[in-house]
């Protein structure tokens, strides 16, 4: 799979088959009838197939939202599971239209890979998980430990920085697939499992005895996770960016999946602009004016997708924390639609 993508990419660059970068992604998508979305290979709460094979999760909902904005239906989307290593190549080569795979927004990725980050879907930070029986209470006690992580991630770089700057001795064991990391940690190959805090909460569910493990209090990095698109197609970039913004604005304005129908008749000008009953904001994106209404009908507002996929009532039990709306002390803030 990986080789296929890489060689496809090589072939594409070498033989000039890359037209997607400059051409209108939206037209291509409309022609083929669905959005191709790159997701993880199974990370509970973010992108994970359920027992019927339907993809669910926070990252998946964003893709469904984009599909709803384009086609009016959140089902017109196909998912490509990708390892951390494959993800950027898959996007660069045009195999996928949008990468929504708990991917950290960093400067080098934004500036060197020919990609654009369209916002922050989840504000995260890297943490450590260890066995309770080791009686470790702080990451600073981890000198001499083996640390399991994923290759090709910011995690791998952060952990190197952290242990080096704190003069701690360690051994890194880096796997390509997330599931390999979990099983190696579970088998005792490593003393420490490190990834984003949300990832720890999700992967913990795959361990033999989740209760035997504890997440250490240190958060050693900023990990703003968000959707990524190819550079050079501003229209498509804008669509993804504004689908995300519309979901946040909808939460702020109290528009939910349940009440979006009756909100269509609202007098509030902000809601009217969001739902397309006033102005022609959708047209300027190359979409219908009811684009945002379709997004909310399909997946709900940002708060709803959060609660449904990763919130306190799910297996992950993640608090809303910094991902609350700005008006509630969090960081989620969207520019206004006007």
């Amino acid at each position: 799979m990986k080789l296929k993508i890489l060689s496809a990419a090589l072939g594409a660059v070498a033989f000039g088959a890359v037209s997607s970068a400059s051409a209108a992604t939206l037209d291509d998508i409309k022609a083929k009838g669905f959005v191709q979305c790159g997701v993880s290979q199974g990370l509970a709460g973010f992108s994970n197939p359920d027992d019927k094979g339907n993809w669910t999760g926070l990252d998946v909902d964003l893709c469904r939202g984009v599909a709803a904005a384009v086609f009016g239906s959140g089902d017109k989307v196909k998912f490509t599971p990708l390892s951390a290593k494959e993800r950027f190549t898959a996007l660069q080569s045009g195999e996928i239209d949008i990468l929504s795979r708990n991917t950290t927004w960093t400067m080098s990725r934004d500036t060197q890979l020919g990609l654009n980050f369209a916002g922050v879907n989840y504000y995260d930070g890297q943490g450590f998980m260890v066995r309770k029986e080791l009686k470790v209470s702080s990451a600073l006690e981890l000198s001499g430990a083996s640390v399991c992580t994923n290759t090709g991630t910011t995690t791998e770089l952060n952990v190197a920085d952290y242990f080096r700057s704190n003069k701690l001795d360690y051994e890194i064991v880096a796997f390509e697939k997330a599931d390999e990391v979990v099983s190696a940690y579970d088998a005792g190959r490593c003393d420490v499992f490190t990834t984003d805090q949300s990832g720890l909460a999700a992967q913990r569910l795959k361990l033999t005895n989740p209760a035997d493990h504890v997440v250490l209090p240190e958060i050693i990095s900023k990990e703003p996770l968000g959707p990524v698109v190819r550079q050079g197609d501003d229209q498509w970039f804008n669509i993804v960016k504004w689908v995300h913004n519309a979901m946040i604005n909808a939460e702020e304005l109290g528009v939910t999946q349940a009440n979006v129908g009756e909100m269509m008749g609202s007098d509030n000008p902000a809601i009217k602009r969001l739902l397309g009953t006033e102005g022609a904001f959708g047209e300027k994106l190359g979409l219908g004016n009811d684009w945002a209404a379709n997004v909310i009908k399909a997946v709900g507002n940002y708060g709803e997708t959060f609660e449904r996929n990763v919130g306190p009532n799910t297996q992950l039990k993640l608090p809303r924390g910094v991902n609350s709306l700005w008006s509630k002390g969090g960081l989620q803030y969207a520019p206004p639609i006007r």
């Binding site: 006690e141 991630t153 952990v159 890194i172 390999e180 190696a184």
Partner: protein, 398 residues
């Protein structure tokens, strides 16, 4: 006679240049080269243009940038997080070479033993070798790597209950902590003694062969050489005051530490590559021995050679001519198969350079090109060596 022919050719009626076979073949070859060069140039410039259009940074400048990530296995090259991507390439290449070297070494020994066992007249040995070969060569290698890694090595005890093997170090699920040799002052003279012993051995062997050719008298070369190679360094070792000691792992908070840890990823990959490739080598060896006609054995016996001598002096040297070319392919296969390391986190060239480095830098075209050229070079060097060896072993007619 010859002169006449030349003159008659010169006198032949002039043909059109294009119809001259010599010139025609030149023209075709030049055209072919031009087409290939044009296609290559087209691919390269097209790639460069497309990469630029996509806004992807290019070039090999990244090789001197700081890598920033750690690698857990680097036996010879000094590597830290502050090392460059160029060093990452070196470490990956080193790890590929290390696994290939040990894999080829052990697979050859095991393969030869199995190949001979397959021809044994002892029914049990013969059948056991047969079952081994048929089972292991028919299971995909990747699966075998996983079996060794997850089914065998992952079941070793936890760090707290490590198996303490005394002078051989300790072992647990995290690694095999071998005792680490620490060389004190004077260790160099032992190495020099070994080198001297080897040089003397070669000279002795040459002299003995010459003497046997001249006089027919034999000299006990094997015992002399063994004695030289073992005793000379050993005596030096004691004279200079035993300059070698071992550092043993100590028990820390997370189990044993120190010594010379051999990660289970290395062990699993080595076991899988060795046991898998050995099956193919066994079949090659068996075929090679069977290719030597029965008459050779009978002739040897008729000359009064014992069975051991027959095998060593007559059968094996002839079988080697059949064995070496396909053996080369197996060595190449093993080297290339070592890239399956990527599945179990052994930091070989594919995993750490074409994997981690590619992802952190995004320089897919440059990195994959470098990796492919490196594997190509490794394969070509191996075949060149084996071809040289093959030529040396081939039938010399006197």
């Amino acid at each position: 006679m010859a002169v006449q022919e030349v003159t008659s050719a010169q006198e032949a009626p002039k043909v059109a240049l294009f119809n001259d076979p010599k010139i025609r073949s030149w023209i075709f070859q030049i055209v072919l080269i031009a087409v290939i060069a044009w296609a290559l140039w087209g691919m390269i410039s097209n790639a460069a243009i497309n990469l630029e259009k996509q806004g992807i940074a290019g070039g090999f400048g990244f090789l001197s940038n700081e890598a920033g990530f750690a690698i857990n296995f680097s036996p010879f090259i000094d590597y830290s997080e502050t090392s460059s991507y160029g060093t990452v390439f070196g470490v990956g290449l080193q790890n590929t070479l290390v696994i290939a070297f040990f894999g080829i070494f052990f697979a050859t020994i095991l393969g030869f033993a199995l190949g001979v066992a397959r021809l044994s007249t002892n029914w049990i040995i013969n059948r056991m070798a047969y079952v081994y070969v048929e089972v292991l060569r028919n299971i995909p290698l990747l699966l075998q790597i996983f079996i060794w890694y997850k089914g065998v090595l992952a079941l070793l005890p936890t760090p707290k209950n490590s198996i303490d093997m005394g002078v051989f170090g300790a072992m647990n699920v995290k690694a095999y902590f071998a005792p680490k040799p620490v060389f004190a002052e004077g260790a160099g003279s032992v190495a020099i003694a070994l080198l001297v012993a080897i040089i003397i051995s070669v000279l002795v062997a040459k002299w003995a062969k010459k003497r046997q050719m001249a006089t027919g008298q034999r000299f006990p070369v094997l015992w002399t050489v063994l004695g030289l190679i073992f005793l000379l360094p050993l005596i030096t070792y004691f004279i200079v005051g035993q300059p070698l000691s071992f550092e043993y792992p100590t028990v820390g908070r997370f189990g044993p530490r120190g010594g010379m840890p051999v990660p289970p990823e290395f062990t699993a990959l080595l076991l899988a590559l060795t046991t898998y490739t050995a099956t193919f080598i066994a079949e090659i060896v068996r075929a090679g021995i069977l290719a030597v006609s029965r008459g050779q054995t009978e002739a040897s016996y008729a000359l009064g050679l014992r069975p051991g001598q027959t095998l060593r002096l007559n059968i094996i040297p002839q079988a080697m001519r059949v064995i070496i070319p396909p053996l080369t392919s197996q060595y190449l296969n093993l080297t290339k198969n070592s890239s399956l390391a990527v599945a179990i986190a052994y930091p070989d060239l594919t995993s750490v350079f074409a994997g981690t480095a590619l992802n952190q830098t995004g320089q897919a075209v440059e990195i994959l090109l470098m990796t492919m050229i490196t594997y190509l070079a490794l394969s070509i060097i191996t075949s060149m060596f084996m071809n040289w060896y093959n030529a040396k072993m081939s039938l010399v007619e006197r």
